[in-house]
């Protein structure tokens, strides 16, 4: 595995400079039901396709940011600081075909 990630602060760097923060999920806003909590804690979508995920520039500016990456090809579609990231809904709608079920 080897690819470049565009740190929103520092620019393109080898993936080995970064830490992976897992797929982006939204934290429940209020107390979840036990089943929802369980899903939130332990269940991942594990998409074969485009996935929104967290990365941290571990060996650089240590900034966390969001990226959309194709898990099959490691193609990185975009990276952005959370404030600048596309709204998840829009992205998902545009890439319904990419998501494995």
């Amino acid at each position: 595995m080897s690819f470049l990630l565009d740190c929103p602060n520092c620019g393109a760097r080898e993936v080995t400079d970064f830490g992976f923060g897992g797929e982006a999920s939204s934290r429940p806003t209020s107390k979840p039901l036990r089943r929802e909590l369980n899903r939130y804690l332990y269940v991942r979508r594990n998409v074969a396709g485009r996935q929104r995920e967290w990365w941290v520039h571990r060996l650089g500016c240590r900034q966390w940011f969001l990226a959309e990456r194709d898990t099959r090809t490691n193609e990185v579609i975009w990276t952005a600081l959370p404030a600048d990231a596309p709204v998840p809904g829009e992205v998902d709608a545009a890439n319904v075909g990419g998501e494995g079920r």
Partner: protein, 955 residues
């Protein structure tokens, strides 16, 4: 032996002689020589003994790729003599022969074992009785193999540098095609890196009398801005990244486009005696003559089945080498070359090939004959005396990098090659690797690949595109017009009188072995490879894969394409493991006080990334000193974060299970960090400096991950908070013990009375003139102050406090002290399952507060549910100190484990912490510890062993 007359294509500098030794004898070579060329010039013909039969072997390729030239240099085995530049003073030794190269006792396996040692022989024969196999194996392993590591080896440190090079186009291979590709891409404006494994780029041009052209092209490349990496090996292709080893550097070349111009490897012929020293590749013979000015032999015979062999023979003639005869398996074609060879004095034997080589310890004569389709000689043929046979059995594209990038190899009948068909976007092939072997098509092929790579990246204009298209059309014409016929050599050409004909010289695999394996059912190329070990030797099939495929095709009756190739895997070039392991990347952190600890004779040990003073000689005495007077310990390793901003208290309330917003200015609170699943991840203290500013400490080991955890959630929540990690900028010293107040009061103007500066209070002030943040906390259980100060002042502060009567104590003493208080160490007394409830820290969880802090919901689920284990203290009445990690058992069941245990000099007891079953987590319960052979009885104590009411620490 003298060298050929000097000419500008030679690589050697006759004005700079170098002295070296081979097997203890002194030899002389010249600057520019390889080890092998210098030895060859001095008459050495045998360079190694073979893997299995210990047969004498000579040089084959003269380009650093074959296994025959493996020698030991200055104690390091496995060096390829024909690729390694000669250096003055080198101590070169043969390997894999005993007692000497000329007389090797193991060569008996060749004489007597030959017919009886087919593939699998050793395993089949010696597997019974099973119990004796280890004995057999030890003997057999010694009999086979290449070289031996010395018992004691001078310690070598690999000073590998890592380099990352991002570019537009990476060209792999610096032959005519590669240079042309690099030049064209650079001319169009691309940033180009060219990787070549020879000492200078040029590839075959260098030996074929075109060195001026090669050097001119390289100069133009350099002018156009191409970065040329010479003596550099491309090890593998990994998703757009090529690992390149160059001397002391491992360079990761990442390019938007790659051009593989890796060339093609000339192949040997298979006939009895084809491993005799003196049998070499025609290109090898040519390199020897052209680059190093050495005649490969007194009398040279060339055997070929393609135009390439005739061309090399002509070049040899041109260099003044006497070519006695040229055997060309093809009956017709390339008459012009044949005519010129005849004019040069060579006898042309058309439609014939070599069916036997003879000689004792080296080639003396060859038999050339017509052969039928199965390779059997028709008639007796011609026997010609010679000491060098230059063979050309076609070529195999060096397609490994392309195949690693996803290309498929298809057998092209007309080209008589497995040609790679690039599949992945971003990598293309140029030159001989894709079948464009002659100089004309190679140059065009390279130029096109370079142009197309640059164009694809947006360089160049419409006219450049048109030019590339025109070149492509020209290439098609050249290919159509210039195709010279090729003939596949037989899988085995023989006069039918037996003798070993090797398919793979590295592994001593004969044509008969492949047939034998196929008869046993190993009839696919992958199985055949693993059973016979053909292509598995040091040259990794470079000079044997094609022959192995051909032998299997012959045996199974399948076409070559259907037999196929084995999987290409990195590394393509041999690379020392030390280069890949590289320089150890250990970030050793030292506190500002490290020098002081060393001067005090501290026993320094690793603690995570930190080098810490473990003790100063007597940890028990150090712990007692803290109880009796005062001690000081360097706690600079604590993680230290400043959390500042309008929403800082909100932020901390969301992260910690207890309330931080209610913390008053100048006060300190203990806080535990949990994951969303409610598991303990770290702990520390939180001090409110002012309305918007908090000073957070973490464990020493957790500093990094807590900072990452905080910034992760900050990025998500986007609160008005700034986070500064000051771990490495702020030193911290813990002054502890009953005398610490008195000592501190002498050094500061602050009122240190218990009323003015109570437990869990924080103050800013100067201590001995050093600006400090003073935290009154007590990890040790005694009255204590943590003094946080700028790094620059740490030594001064330490020295003043020590001079005032505080005894330095180390990590071990601190561990004893904290254990007496049952203060946990996260990671030591907790594991990935521990929750605040199971760790006896339920008091630090405030489920009344509003914020849905991290872990809240999981912790809510756990309230009122008995955890599987609880952390409790225990005392061993017998005075034993169990090993940390020892099991707690009840009957035959393991019910828990010891997490910490120490002898407490203050209490005179053996104490510890353990995770136990809930039923045992009550005061007075007896537990049994199983510690290897020992059974230790212990009594549970849930309250701190020392000062259970916490009066001392508050006094």
């Amino acid at each position: 032996m003298s060298r050929l007359p000097q000419h500008p294509g030679q690589r050697i500098d006759l004005s700079r002689p170098l002295t070296f030794s081979f097997d203890g004898r002194s030899h002389e070579g010249f600057a520019g020589d390889t080890i092998a060329s210098a030895l060859y010039a001095s008459g050495q013909r045998v360079f190694s003994r073979s893997f299995k039969y210990h047969r004498k072997r000579g040089e084959v390729c003269f380009c650093g790729r074959c296994a025959n030239s493996l020698v030991q240099v200055d104690g390091a085995p496995g060096v390829r003599a024909c690729g390694e530049p000669l250096q003055a003073g080198m101590r070169v030794e043969h390997q894999n022969a005993w007692p000497s190269l000329d007389f090797d006792v193991m060569a008996a396996t060749d004489r007597f074992g030959g017919p009886f040692t087919p593939p699998g022989f050793y395993y089949k024969t010696f597997i019974r009785p099973r119990r004796l196999w280890p004995v057999y194996e030890r003997v057999l392993r010694r009999a086979a193999g290449l070289g031996r590591l010395p018992e004691r080896q001078a310690e070598r440190s690999w000073e590998t540098e890592y380099r990352r090079r991002h570019c537009d186009v990476a060209v792999l291979g610096g032959g005519f095609a590669g240079l042309s590709a690099a030049l064209r891409a650079a001319e169009l404006g691309a940033d180009v890196v060219l990787v070549d494994d020879d000492v200078e780029p040029g590839g075959d041009l260098l030996a074929e009398g075109e060195h001026e052209r090669a050097r001119d092209l390289a100069a133009r490349c350099a002018e156009a801005g191409v970065e040329i990496l010479s003596s550099a090996s491309a090890l593998g292709y990994f998703d757009g990244l090529v690992a390149v080893w160059q001397g002391d550097t491992l360079c990761q070349v990442r390019a938007a486009r790659h051009v593989a111009a890796t060339g093609a490897l000339e192949q040997p012929l298979v006939f009895p005696g084809n491993d005799l020293p003196g049998v070499m590749l025609s290109g090898g013979a040519l390199r020897l003559a052209a680059l190093y000015g050495i005649a490969p032999g007194e009398s040279v015979v060339v055997a070929t089945c393609e135009r390439r062999g005739l061309e090399n023979a002509l070049h040899l003639q041109g260099l003044g080498i006497g070519v006695a005869a040229v055997a060309d398996l093809r009956g017709r074609g390339d008459e012009d070359l044949c005519e010129r060879l005849r004019a040069g004095g060579a006898e042309l034997l058309r439609g014939m090939t070599v069916v036997r080589g003879r000689g004792r310890g080296g080639l003396a004569e060859v038999t050339i004959a017509r052969v039928d389709a199965a390779g059997r000689a028709q008639g007796r043929g011609r026997t010609i005396p010679c000491d060098c046979l230059a063979v050309c059995g076609g070529a195999a594209p060096a397609s490994s990098l392309l195949l690693q990038a996803g290309a498929r190899a298809a057998f092209d009948q007309q080209a008589n090659r497995f040609l790679p068909v690039p599949a992945a976007a971003g990598i293309s092939g140029a030159g001989a690797v894709v079948g464009h072997e002659d100089p004309g098509s190679g140059r065009l092929s390279g130029s096109i690949a370079g142009a197309e790579s640059a164009l694809a990246l947006g360089f160049g204009g419409r006219e450049d595109r048109a030019f590339a298209e025109a070149e492509r059309a020209r290439l098609e014409q050249v290919l159509a017009a210039g195709a010279s016929t090729r003939q596949a050599p037989p899988a085995l050409a023989t006069d039918g009188r037996g003798g070993k004909a090797f398919v793979d010289l590295d592994e001593d695999v004969t044509a008969k072995d492949v047939a034998y394996a196929a008869a046993e059912g190993y009839d696919s190329i992958e199985l055949s490879k693993r059973y016979t070990t053909a292509t598995m030797g040091p040259s990794q099939g470079r000079f044997s894969q094609l022959a192995a495929v051909r032998a299997l095709a012959e045996e199974t009756g399948l076409p070559m394409g259907q037999v196929g190739l084995t999987t290409a895997r990195p590394p393509w070039a041999t690379v020392p493991l030390g280069v890949l392991a590289g320089r150890p990347f250990e970030s050793a952190k030292r506190s500002a006080l490290h020098g002081r600890h060393s001067e005090l004779g501290a026993n320094v040990r690793w603690a995570g990334d930190w080098r810490r003073a473990y003790d100063y000689g007597d940890p028990a005495a150090e712990a007692l000193a803290v109880h009796e007077g005062a001690g000081l310990i360097d706690v600079s390793t604590l993680g230290k974060l400043i959390v500042r901003g309008g929403e800082a208290e909100e932020f901390l309330d969301r992260l910690y299970p207890n309330r931080m917003s209610s913390l008053k200015q100048g006060r300190i609170r203990y806080g535990i960090l949990t994951s969303e699943a409610g598991r303990i991840s770290d702990d520390g203290t939180i001090c409110r400096l002012d309305a918007d500013t908090f000073y957070v400490t973490t464990t020493s080991g957790g500093a990094d991950s807590v900072e990452q955890w905080f910034s992760r959630w900050l990025a998500d929540w986007q609160l008005d908070v700034s986070l500064s990690d000051v771990t490495q900028g702020v030193a911290a010293i813990n002054l502890a013990g009953p005398r610490s107040r008195e000592i501190l009061a002498r050094l500061t103007g602050l009122d240190c009375s218990n009323e003015a500066f109570p437990y869990l209070d924080a103050q800013h002030g100067e201590v001995a003139g050093v600006p400090c943040l003073l935290l009154r906390i007590g990890f040790t259980g005694e009255l204590g102050y943590e003094l946080h100060c700028p790094l620059a002042n740490a030594r001064q502060l330490w020295d003043v406090i020590a001079a005032a009567g505080a005894q330095p104590f180390g990590l071990e003493a601190q561990r004893i002290l904290r254990l007496q208080k049952q203060h946990i160490l996260v990671g030591q007394d907790t594991d990935s399952e521990s929750t605040p409830f199971s760790a006896n820290l339920g008091w630090s969880v405030n489920l009344e507060k509003q914020q849905s802090f991290i872990g809240r919901w999981a912790l809510e689920e756990k309230t009122g549910v008995e955890p599987s284990h609880r952390l409790v203290g225990f005392v061993c009445s017998g005075g034993e100190v169990p090993t940390e990690g020892a099991a707690i058992i009840r009957g035959k069941l393991v019910t828990g484990q010891v997490t910490s245990a120490r002898r407490s000099p203050q209490l005179g007891q053996s104490i510890g912490l353990a995770m136990v079953a809930p039923g045992e987590a009550v005061d007075g319960a007896t537990i049994e510890i199983s510690d290897q052979d020992r059974r230790i009885a212990a009594t549970v104590t849930t309250a701190p062993f020392y000062d259970p009411e916490g009066e001392v620490v508050r006094s």
